[in-house]
Amino acid sequence: MASFGKIARRTFLIGSAAVAGGVAFGVYAYRKPVENPLLAELEPGETTLNPFVLIDADGVTLITPRGDVGQGAISIQTYLLAEELDVDPQTVRTSFGPASGAYYNGKVAAEGMPFAAWDAGFLSTQARKAAGPAGKFIGLHITGGSTTVPDMYDRLRAAGASARETLKLAAANRFTLTPEDLKTEGGQVLLPNGDAIPYADLAAEAAALDPVSVEPRAPESWTWLGKPARRTDIVAKSTGTFRYGGDLVLDDMIHATVVTNPAMGGGVVSHDDSAARAMRGILDILPITDGFAVLADNDWRAMKAARAIDVDWGTPEGRLASSAEMWEAHAAAFTEENRDSRFADDGDVEAAPGNLVTAEYRVPFLHHAPLEPANATVRYRPERTEVWTATQVPIFVRDAVAAITGQEAEAVTVHNLASGGSFGHRLDYLWVQQAAEIAVQVPGRPVRLTLSREQDMTHGFLRPMAIARGRGTVENGTVRSLDLSIAAHSVTESQIGRAGLPAAGPDIAIVAAAWDAPYAIPDRRVTGYRVPAGVAVSSWRSVGASHNGFFFETFLDELIAEAGADPVEERLRLIHDPASRNVLATVADMASWTGPLGDGTGRGVAFTYAFGVPCAQIIEVSDTGRGIRLDKLWIAADVGRVLDPVNLESQLTGGALFGLGHAIHSEITFEDHTIQQRNYHEYEGMRLWQTPEVEVRALETLPTIRGAGEPGLPPAAPALANAIFAATGTRLREMPFARTVTFA
């Protein structure tokens, strides 16, 4: 196939006919050539049947437009297409395709609406339907929000089915047969006489036909989906042969790193780079925004020289400098002026009877800190700029690079790459902009920028710090009222702002998974307060639910304890949503929940409904005398339909353990505008020895298929905090927990 450098990046919106119905239901007809971004610059001998299928003389290439950050996006998108197209998922070639509005995400916008995922009422359903196309019309080619499977489940199967049937029609026409006479297998059309015609032989004829519309196959007839599947990248990732952005080598490539003001945006007062310039292998030191780039023939030489530049950094203005000041600002933000939302307001929390319980909770800033340091390779030429990087937002990257090179967006090609983790980090692209700033200063030569871990860690886009204040009452052994107020920066405002777009209205992230928790508490109110913008904040695995699951479920646990009720029984009594109740009952069954254990052991339960997935977890801990040990974690979640049980388990488990590692160990703090944590020795996460045994059960009762990258995280930290309370009587109201208790 053509490298995508040869395929024009068009910003046009795909015609309505091309993907009509793609948001919600399967079949869509691909009609006009301009609707398919792959058509723009096909090489001779190449054919495309729709935006997801490209065929050349060597066979089929599947386009898997959602970025792969470790969640298995390439693999699942390949299986969704291959299941219909009848190609071997292990050997078929794949590509992320160009940055294009054709690959819009129809689910992200829908989930941003202020309607609870469990709410299937008329208004919420209509609102979601209306929001889906919004993603299409703004061409939001984005990976995130656990939407890859929900968004691609119907679209890719429909694309694969349409391509298959169109190829069969082409064969039928050539051999004067009917499509019903034909079968497909292994990338070939099988004729009744036993002859096998490779798709590549039929592609040109198929492309001349009107694409055939057909319903995707019924799950009962699936070959690969719905059962444990071998990830398509698993052999390469187990043999060291998988190549990441930092492994890219191009002819005449320059190795680069950057050093920018640790107080982000503070600029440079003066500097002396003479020692650095004299070091071996250093080609040049160039100015970039907020600092310098070192160009060298080797990453280590570049990083060593970067440390040798003597810089007098400036101080940013208009921002708070230290964590202490930021905590003060958050504590002072619970005012009418800062009130951002009150989506939940049932009964009258002010007048609710019963014994009053109050508590305040705090969570710190966090970094995504994926293991692969941020990197990007850019080659600038006046006629075309090429970018190789791992990104969740290829269109934003393309436009940001074009703004630096001064070219039209169409003159910038983004080759998306699989990444060594993200957790939301690669929704940002500052390092791509830095690579572009370098590249325009050395036209024609590819520049591979790799950030040092220290540069990456100290220039993070962070999960916001947040404070929650809970006020509730209990009476007659039950929870009567719950009033939760949450103050945080707006992730949406900060993140969308970096893309140069306005974000209007309340930010649902501030209260996500708290306002819509499906508990029928008689008097219930959830209020979000927006702390005025400060440091850059970002979507961090499960976004607002990452703190609100902790706030809501730990406070609810305090109320239940005050009421003298059982943590599982009282939750089951309060939950009004059947799927949610089922999930909680399931996890209680898995753990054989029997109430308190005693003897220095304790169990905690938590339940959240985030990203459309009800998820309940129980954690068992024991007090070893040397600290708290996590013994066992049970997870139950309803995702509607399981496509790959192995990867689903990995995602739910990984989400929970990621949440636990940060809850126990991690925080990002500021002094003098500067992040204090520079590397993993100061930002510890979950390690093998602290990992509990994990048991997962996935349920399939929801009417809609859901993604699992994020929903496993929100209930993990509160389940742990509640377990530690059960074991020791200590309530944990601040992360990281290791500040309050010792862990073994």
């Binding site: 950050v69 470790g70 969640q71 298995g72 071998r230 990830r231 990248d233 698993i234 052999v235 390469a236 990732k237 187990s238 043999t239 060291g240 042969t241 998988f242 990441y244 930092g246 492994d247 080598v249 190795h255 071996r280 023939d297 080797n298 990453d299 280590w300 030489r301 990083m303 800190a369 994926p370 293991l371 692969e372 340091p373 699989a418 060594g420 983790g421 993200s422 957790f423 790799t450 040092s452 871990r453 192995v646 990995s650 995602q651 488990t653 990984g654 353990l657 990621f658 590692g661 590397n679 993993y680 020795h681 996460g685 979950m686 390690r687 093998l688 020895w689 990992t691 045994e693 994990v694």
Partner: protein
């Protein structure tokens, strides 16, 4: 300086303080070992030095003069994976996969020295290798599988 990597002898002219990791990656073009932290805090760069798992980001060129280094790509190949790699494939350990070269090299060294480690010994040997995706339950399963297959 001279050293042998994955069975091939090399002669190089590099600074004595260049860590082995960048010598492998940028001078020899061997990209199996990864840069994650540069301070021995993540284990993504783990290689075998004369048979023992070490952090390639800490060992310098002058310290590996004449040594035999094995990287993940010298341990086994996609067509002929090492038993530990095979176990990693069967258990589908990798998510993003970035740490897994190091995890596998550490596990292979563990099993070479201790063919039947206890759970506690696995915990002790493997906790220097950070997996931000937290694939740990499957790492444990893969090591147990490798023990079984080796013993079979």
């Amino acid at each position: 300086m001279r050293l042998t990597v994955d069975g091939t002898e090399h002669e190089l002219d590099v600074e004595p303080d260049m860590p082995l990791l960048w010598l492998l990656r940028d001078e020899l073009g061997l990209h199996g070992p990864k840069y994650g932290c540069g301070i021995a805090a993540c284990g993504a760069c783990t290689v075998h030095l004369d048979g023992l798992a070490v952090r390639a980001c800490q060992i310098t060129a002058e310290e590996v003069e004449g040594a035999e280094v094995t990287t993940i790509e010298g341990l086994g190949t996609p067509d002929a994976p090492h038993p530990v790699q095979q176990a990693w494939i069967e258990e589908q350990v990798a998510q993003c996969g970035y740490c897994q070269s190091g995890q596998i090299m550490q596990a292979a060294s563990l099993l070479a020295l201790n063919p039947a480690p206890t759970d506690a010994e696995i915990d002790a040997a493997m906790s220097g290798n950070l997996c931000r995706c937290a694939s740990y339950p499957r790492i444990r399963a893969a090591i147990r599988r490798a023990i079984q297959s080796e013993g079979a």
